[in-house]
Amino acid sequence: MFRRERSIPLRGSAAALCNNLSVLHVPARNLTHFGVVHGPSAQLLSAAPEGVPLAQRQLHAKEGAGVSPPLITQVHWCVLPFRVLLVLTSHRGIQMYESDGSVMVYWHALDSGDMSPVQAVFARGIASSGHFICVGTWSGRILVFDIPAKGPNIVLSEELAGHQTSVTDIATEPAQGQDCVADMVTADDSGLLCVWQSGPEFKLMTRIPGFGVPCPSVQLWHGMVAAGYGDGQVRLYEASTGILHVQISAHARAICALDLAPEVGKLLSAAEDTFIHIWKLSRSPESGHTEVEHCHGECVPDTQVCGARFCDPSGSSFAVTGYDLAEILRFSSA
């Protein structure tokens, strides 16, 4: 079904983080951009359809006080109505760049206040919603930045309280019409999921309690929350009510990444157990119940996967990164 395509070499190996791969598909230019965190640096590269690498750039976490260079937690492209920004989160703060990483347009330093050095301070979890970019933090607060159509006049417009433990991931989808108002879901280290409605002010709609197991990765599709957990489970919930619809014993180790191919309702899950699985989500026409079907499983031998993404909205290809691996693996079913 899927065959292995030519890998794209990386300058530095991928770090053992979750959600450690961001992909920006640019069909107009027949290009795909990839972003991977190495450690104190992140690598951006663009590739032609056959995987031939064309350009690459390295970004570094902004230095601060401290002994060693700060570690980057995540790098992610945010597609906004009039522009695309690249966001980089680290143990110091949040950096925003033009989409090719050439110019830093904004820097937000995290305030650790009078925290003792026991607590790690970092930003993690990045998503765009309309003209906002939301970023999670170690304390559970979600920072909402208002992004102008162009230029560096980015403003922190709101801080959302909803989580008590470190944020892990954020997912958004365009509002689905009047009925479906929930368009953002945030997840944290305790497995708690918060479902929000975006707007000039974000509103908390639903809380889906965790069970002590971190939820490192989350996706939102047609009013359904897909959450991957540290115990290898994937769970689907109705976003507006929090009702559990599907529970999958998907992996034997912690899940590190989830991704969606929105055009076809395909969900990709990747975990530290070396496996990637692809699932088809649907609603049964008779009962209206959510259904999930397993489509494909792929094993990357001896590799602790740390990132995985579909490379196009129809889910016909996907890319994978692994801890200690200095290449991006590609698979396609074309």
Partner: protein, 334 residues
Amino acid sequence: MFNRKFMEELFKPQELYSKKALRTVYDRLAHASIMRLNQASMDKLYDLMTMAFKYQVLLCPRPKDVLLVTFNHLDTIKGFIQDSPTILHQVEETFRQLTETYGGLSAGEFQLIRQTLLSFFQDLHIRVSIFLKDRVQNSNGRFVLPVSGPVPWGTEVPGLIRMFNNKGKEVKKVEFKHGGHYVTAPKEGSFELCGDRVLKLGTNMYSINRPVETHMSGASKNLASRTQESIVPNPLAKEELNLLARLMGGMEIKKASGPEPGFRLNLFTTDEEEEQAALTRPEELSYEVINIQATQDQQRHKELARIMGEFEVTEQPRPSTSKGDDLLAMMDEL
């Protein structure tokens, strides 16, 4: 090493050591006894330690298991020093401190600890003969990640999709082929002062019934070569060091002659080989122990080094610490 002041220093909240800093501490620890190693053997010993530690952290089924691995280490150490109540007390005190500091951390916090540790070991692929023989490490230096065996405690065996209706009643159950061959976890390892840890990571790699974490068929049957070794510790320090020498495998123990008392450990089969190894060691793997740059590093390690300088080797004449003094003096001058 388990002396209270040293432990207090280690337990202070701090950033991850740089590679140079850790190597310095390791050197001082190794030389706090009457054992002497020259550069090449020290490098080899450090490589062995680093790769073994990487293996243990990487293969932890749950992030919290890094604590169980540590407890396994302490349990084995307790076995060695059973006849020495003072040291035994110190080790138990360390155990209590570990429980106090880490016992209450969440799964998410342990995941962050594990990811941070893995960043230290990133890109280290030194081949270790015992790992290669046991098929725990591939010839490219990467560890084997088995896709069979027990799942971590708290994880379900992958392979099941369960679908529910709006009332929470299970309406459909479908199995899927995961790709691995997993079984349920038998029981959870104990986090008490004494108990069955269940996990074998962190136990003595060189013991007769070597419980290497691998589920591959055709696991090495070369235990016969190790059966002659006794693992019963001998309270006499000198005999202990000879045991250490034997465990390191086939090397020459030179009786110290001349003014410097003590014991020179050569990890190679001949002195010539040791010299040759020192000359041909690749640049990128050299540790440059003496160069300590950052001020904070200096402060912290000065303190550690000072404390280590106070270590006494009981039941042995106070060793000449000329080499150590030089290092300490050098650090003072920086």
